[in-house]
């Protein structure tokens, strides 16, 4: 009576139950597995588990079960390490993108007179958990990204860019590497905003940021410093190299024309260039030096590149 009840319940469980002997032959399984594997009893009972489920990693599986037999203790296999062991269908084929059921498997020793004669494998459907965890991870990644990016221009935001500079600065000092910094300001941007409206101004910022980004190398760090001010960190770059990059950026911006409401907007930029100096103790010193060069470029008539070294010698 109780046996019948147990079989009845085991066939209604939403957990797979599979029992094998020590030679990996299947002794029993419940309805959950029958349904999700879509195989009939007579092709399963008495057959080797490796024949019924050829997808199982045989060597791994044998070693796993040997720990259960020898140590007489249960063993686990979770979806986070192996998405699934058995290729089974699952209960959310429509609303998730999982092809097979994500599984948590438990291997239980079944002892007969002190020896492990059989192993009971419990298979839980965790496709749901797996799906939501993946969604969460994706959301966290997006959040981490949006925390670093300036929404308008897609360059790094000020906070993240400055953290990058602090890191690059201390690295360059420690290893005595070169480090250059460009500070870039769009010329007469306020006038441009007044003429074309803020949406026109925004478009100029977006298009200019795109232009600059295209000219940079891997490892260069590009950020929006303020309203119409951009900044670029150039690791392992000397003054000459930095000037070259700055000049290329200046020319590219000056040549660029932006279509806005059937009007053509063109814009120029002034750029200050500084490199790390043995007198610089803080990364803010590097910013100040580049800033001074930028003012110099503005004062000398805009649309030009000035080097901090020249400022110092004046």
């Amino acid at each position: 009576m109780l046996d019948e009840l147990c079989i009845n319940i085991s066939n209604r469980l939403n957990t797979g139950i599979l029992i094998v002997d020590r030679h990996y032959n299947i002794i029993m399984w419940n309805r959950f597995l029958e349904v999700h594997a879509n195989k009939s009893d007579n092709k399963v009972i008495g057959k080797s588990i490796f024949t019924v489920f050829p997808e199982l990693p045989k060597k791994w599986f044998e070693r796993k079960l040997s720990s259960v037999v020898q140590l007489k203790t249960q063993s686990f296999c979770g979806w986070e390490q192996r998405h699934h062991l058995f290729e089974l269908s699952h209960s959310r084929p429509i609303t998730t993108d999982s092809h097979f059921m994500a599984q948590n498997c438990t291997f239980l020793p079944v002892e007969v007179e002190g020896e492990v004669e059989r192993i009971c494998i419990l298979i839980e459907d965790v496709t749901d958990v797996c799906h939501y965890q993946s969604q969460l991870n994706k959301a966290l990644q997006e959040l981490a990204l949006s925390n670093r990016i300036d929404g308008l221009t897609q360059a790094f935001n000020r906070k993240h860019w400055e953290e990058c500079l602090a890191k690059e600065f201390s690295r360059a000092r420690r290893y005595k590497h070169d480090l250059a910094l460009l500070m870039l300001d769009l010329d007469h941007f306020k006038l441009l905003n007044d003429t074309f409206g803020h949406q026109g101004g925004d478009l100029v910022l977006i298009e200019t940021a795109k232009k600059i980004d295209k000219l940079l190398r891997m490892g260069d760090l590009f950020g929006r410093y303020g309203g119409e001010e951009f900044a670029v960190i150039l690791p392992n770059t000397d003054l000459e190299g930095a000037e070259e990059v700055a000049e290329r950026i200046r020319q590219s911006i000056a040549k660029n024309t932006i279509d806005y409401n059937q009007k053509i907007i063109s814009v120029t930029a002034s750029i200050g260039v500084a490199i790390i100096d043995s007198n610089d103790t803080r990364y803010e010193d590097l910013i100040s030096n580049a800033d001074l060069a930028l003012y110099q470029a503005k004062a000398a008539g805009r649309n030009r590149v000035c080097l901090a070294k020249e400022v110092a010698t004046i």
Binding site: P57, K59, W60, R63
Partner: protein, 202 residues
């Protein structure tokens, strides 16, 4: 003295039960892993929830921490934390008898944690005529900073726990790890009741 603290007899008795369990567990592990496994004499001490982070902090140079819950009859329950050092993790697959490409690092330490925890606690449970069940082992974090963060950010809903720390050494593979069993307040009284019963039988 807090009512949760063990008296000298109880402490000795628990120590003895653990020693015997360690002996048998190391024997079983040696057979299965085919190499000698040394278990170092454990430390048993109460910790409160504020101290937990501090006391674990010495161990938290750990590269990874795996947690596994255990629960038996008579209200014996707790959580086992297995802590791994980064330099000790290279030959784990080898030690476990798997091929190098067969398992990720996470899977290796989870597998080993489960083996160490359940082997020891099964023997321990059989000594007190009990039987343990286990939750699936979970990797808390495979990164030192994150482990500290993980524990530091929690406000625990317990005040006091019994901490049993056992160190495992596998010299042939120059591998070490620590197992910390944490038994929550309400379970300490249950353990004490079991210990008292054993002491009475002597």
């Amino acid at each position: 003295m807090s009512t949760f603290e063990l008296n000298e007899d109880q402490q000795d008795c628990l120590q003895e039960l653990i020693n015997v369990a360690m002996g048998q567990a190391s024997d079983q592990l040696a057979r299965y892993l085919d190499t000698f496994v040394y278990l170092k004499v454990p430390s048993i001490e109460p910790v409160n929830s504020e101290q937990l982070f501090e006391t674990l902090n010495q161990d938290l140079k750990a590269a990874a921490v795996v947690s596994q819950g255990f629960f038996g009859y008579e209200g014996i329950r707790g959580e086992a934390l297995l802590m791994y050092q980064p330099q000790d993790s290279h030959r784990l697959a080898d030690l476990l008898g798997y091929e190098a490409g067969e398992m990720t690092f996470d899977e290796q330490i989870i597998d080993l944690s489960s083996i160490l925890t359940t082997t020891f606690l099964n023997v321990f449970a059989s000594q007190i005529d009990n039987q343990m069940s286990y939750s699936a082992p979970r990797l808390l974090s495979a990164n030192n900073a994150k482990v500290s963060e993980h524990l530091n950010q929690q406000s625990f809903n317990w005040d006091l726990a019994l901490k049993v720390k056992i160190s495992y050494q596998v010299t042939d593979y120059s591998f070490n790890c620590d197992m910390v069993l944490l038994i929550p307040e309400e379970a300490i009284n249950n353990i004490k009741a079991v210990i008292d019963r054993i002491l009475e039988d002597f």
